[in-house]
């Protein structure tokens, strides 16, 4: 990450053509995810949310920066830590929270749950729970758009631990072999559940795994929404114009446990505090203030708005009905 204030008097995003409005919306998306997830943790503690619940806190810049670079007709796949990407794609906090509460008003009508958010109308293809299981699907959707002569791209978020799975390598091989317009974003938060990546992976750099397939590849600071956006723009351009896939390692960090049931004994408090100093939301806020994109007053207003939005989401979820019993047998077959 470059430090600001080099020789130029322009912000470091000056070359990206980002309007103030777009910058503000990227910031707002990150803040909404942070507050949504904090509230999810509370509601989980109250027993309103069941099962597994994997929070995106700390990784907001990765999802928001990547999704901000997409078009509406592009497709998104992700693993089970999917709340953040769904919100970044414009799925409403109300419907997302209702899904966590297992209510019929949820994004998957309460049938999917925390790990299975979907909105086909927004190209949000989910929300998948088997580590390394969904990257082939993402390559398949990229295959379909190319087959049909479209110039959509498909992006695939996946955890760093999934890159040890065999099927991920099968997918990387075919994606490059067949020149599929797909971008694999490996969110490297350092831990596959409680196992540090260094204890699970031979080799040093995650993105080296794509080297054997001669795929375009690299690492990016996933704690920086602008860096993320910039690298994604390049990858998207390659995919859209030349059908070239990319393997992008986004180096990020999750502040909370793997899931809500994680005691977190595999890492130190100091390590977590160190990352919090590089918090993607705080650092971006400082920059936006510095360049006059936002004022302190506007930030405070936004904080209030989001607080209300999340509160209303919880009230909506709470007040919504559970799925009717007849839904048990619906949608098994088309």
């Amino acid at each position: 990450m470059k430090k600001e204030k080099t020789t130029t008097d322009q912000p470091r995003w000056a070359d990206l053509g980002l309007s103030d409005q777009k910058l503000i919306s990227m910031y707002r998306d990150m803040l909404l995810i942070r507050r949504f997830e904090e509230r999810s943790a509370q509601e989980y503690g109250k027993g309103k949310i069941g099962g597994f619940c994997h929070l995106y806190i700390g990784q907001e810049a990765t999802g928001v920066g990547a999704i901000a670079a997409l078009r509406d007709d592009d497709f998104i796949y992700t693993a089970y830590r999917d709340h953040g990407q769904a919100l970044a794609r414009g799925m409403s906090a109300k419907e997302c929270m209702a899904e966590l509460f297992g209510k019929v008003t949820g994004v998957s009508k309460g049938i999917g749950g925390s790990m299975h958010f979907y909105d086909l109308s927004k190209g949000f293809m989910g929300g998948w729970g088997i580590v390394g299981g969904h990257p082939p699907l993402a390559a398949g959707t990229a295959f379909a758009t190319k087959y049909q002569g479209r110039d959509s791209v498909t992006i695939c978020f996946m955890g760093e631990a999934s890159t040890n799975q065999g099927v991920v390598h099968e997918t990387l091989n075919m994606a490059e072999l067949w020149r599929l317009p797909v971008i694999f974003i490996t969110e490297n938060n350092g831990y596959g559940m409680g196992t540090a990546i260094s204890r699970a992976m031979a080799g040093e750099n995650l993105y080296d795994k794509a080297a054997g397939y001669l795929m375009n590849r690299g690492a990016v600071n996933g704690m920086d929404v602008i860096d993320m956006y910039r690298e994604m723009k390049k990858a998207i351009h390659l995919a859209r114009t030349e059908f070239r896939p990319t393997f992008l390692e986004a180096r990020t960090y999750r502040y909370r446990g793997h899931s809500m049931s994680d005691p977190g004994q595999y890492r130190t408090k100091e390590e977590i505090e160190e990352y919090k100093k590089k918090d993607p939301i705080e650092t971006f806020a400082k920059e936006l203030l510095q360049w006059g994109v936002l004022t302190e007053a506007a930030l405070e207003r936004m904080e209030e708005e989001i607080k209300t939005e999340v509160q209303e989401a919880v009230e909506f979820a709470d007040a919504s009905p559970q799925p009717p019993l007849e839904m048990l047998h619906q949608n098994v077959y088309a």
Partner: protein, 327 residues
């Protein structure tokens, strides 16, 4: 009316559907330039080219998943994924069971998954344990999947065309030993709907239920039994999920006796489910408990004599029929 091999009937079905719908394509190991490991896709690559007839690396899970993701995009793509054999498709079960079968349900109906996974299933001849197993019961166990198992060229063509047009993931299980089997296939277009069984031979004394390769075994047994004055009906469910329960129950109500023949292992098999349904739905019509003839409950041995011993045979079916007839 042409006389075709099953492989030719399947080939025709694929070609007709590819002509009808440009969104249909086929991918798999050796399907293109090699013309198919069992020559099912003979000539398709030449006719349709690289775009629609695609050789894959030997990575069953990977290309199964690519097919699923292509089908899920909802932009008119209908993949046919050939598995060189279902033995190898076991590598892709995570993709089929955890992804294809569940995408629609988990998304509360947002996705359709119009895809066919097809290839030979069941023991062939002296291939040893890893290449000789009937896996239809494992697939039929899974809600969200359709499982079809043709036994004649006529059925194979009409069933596969329906499978390709279906908006659900279809598991289409053929038989290596049957690809050369010949039969009449009409010249014009026809479809055999999903979920419809067929009476392969009418009879009055006992219903023998069998699919794919076991239909021939059942028919052979029925011909022998006829010599002894026993009239056996042979029923082929054709689709195992959803099961044509109506046809099965109607036949058993007529004959009052049933024998199920399958070359899969016996434990928790499709035959077990059929027997259960007959016992619970048609209990009052039964004159004897339902009998089940299976492959032996062992991994398949290589030695010819042991392999023969492990497989259902007309003799074993005849003995079972006589047991339910108390003769």
């Amino acid at each position: 009316m042409a006389i075709l091999q099953i492989r030719e009937a399947i080939n025709q079905a694929i070609a007709e559907e590819m002509d009808r719908d440009p969104g249909v394509f086929i991918m798999g190991e050796e399907v293109a330039q090699y013309n198919g490991a069992y020559k099912v896709t003979q000539g398709l690559w030449k006719k349709y080219g690289d775009k629609r007839v695609i050789d894959t690396p030997i990575t069953e899970a990977g290309f199964a998943g690519i097919g699923i993701g292509a089908a899920m995009a909802g932009i008119g793509v209908r993949p046919i994924v050939e598995m060189m054999t279902w033995n190898f498709a076991i590598l892709a079960f995570d993709q089929i069971i955890n992804h294809a079968a569940k995408a629609r349900y988990m998304s509360a109906g947002q996705f359709k998954v119009p895809i066919v996974f097809r290839g030979p299933n069941g023991p062939a001849h002296m291939l040893g344990a890893q290449h000789s197993q009937a896996l239809e019961s494992m697939m039929a166990h899974v809600p969200g999947l359709i499982v079809m198992t043709p036994s004649t060229p006529y059925d194979a063509k009409g069933m596969l065309k329906s499978a390709i047009r279906d908006d659900n993931p279809v598991i289409f299980m053929e038989s290596e030993l049957m690809y050369g089997q010949k039969g009449e296939v009409p010249d014009g277009e026809y479809l055999i709907p999903v979920g419809k069984g067929d009476i392969k031979r009418e009879g009055t004394d006992v219903t023998i239920i069998a699919w794919t390769k076991m239909v021939a075994v059942a028919l052979k047994a029925a011909a022998e039994l006829e010599k002894e004055g026993i009239s056996a009906e042979v029923l082929d469910p054709r689709t195992l999920r959803p099961l044509d329960e109506e046809l099965i129950i109607a036949s058993v109500k007529k004959t009052n006796r049933a024998v199920i023949v399958e070359d899969s292992w016996p434990f928790a098999s499709v035959g077990t489910e059929i027997a259960h349904r007959i016992h619970t739905i048609a209990f009052d019509h039964l004159d004897a408990p339902v009998e089940k003839i299976n492959g032996a409950d062992v991994p398949m041995p290589y030695a010819e004599n042991l392999e023969h011993e492990a497989m259902p045979s007309p003799e074993k079916v005849i003995a079972a029929v006589k047991r339910v007839l108390y003769r």
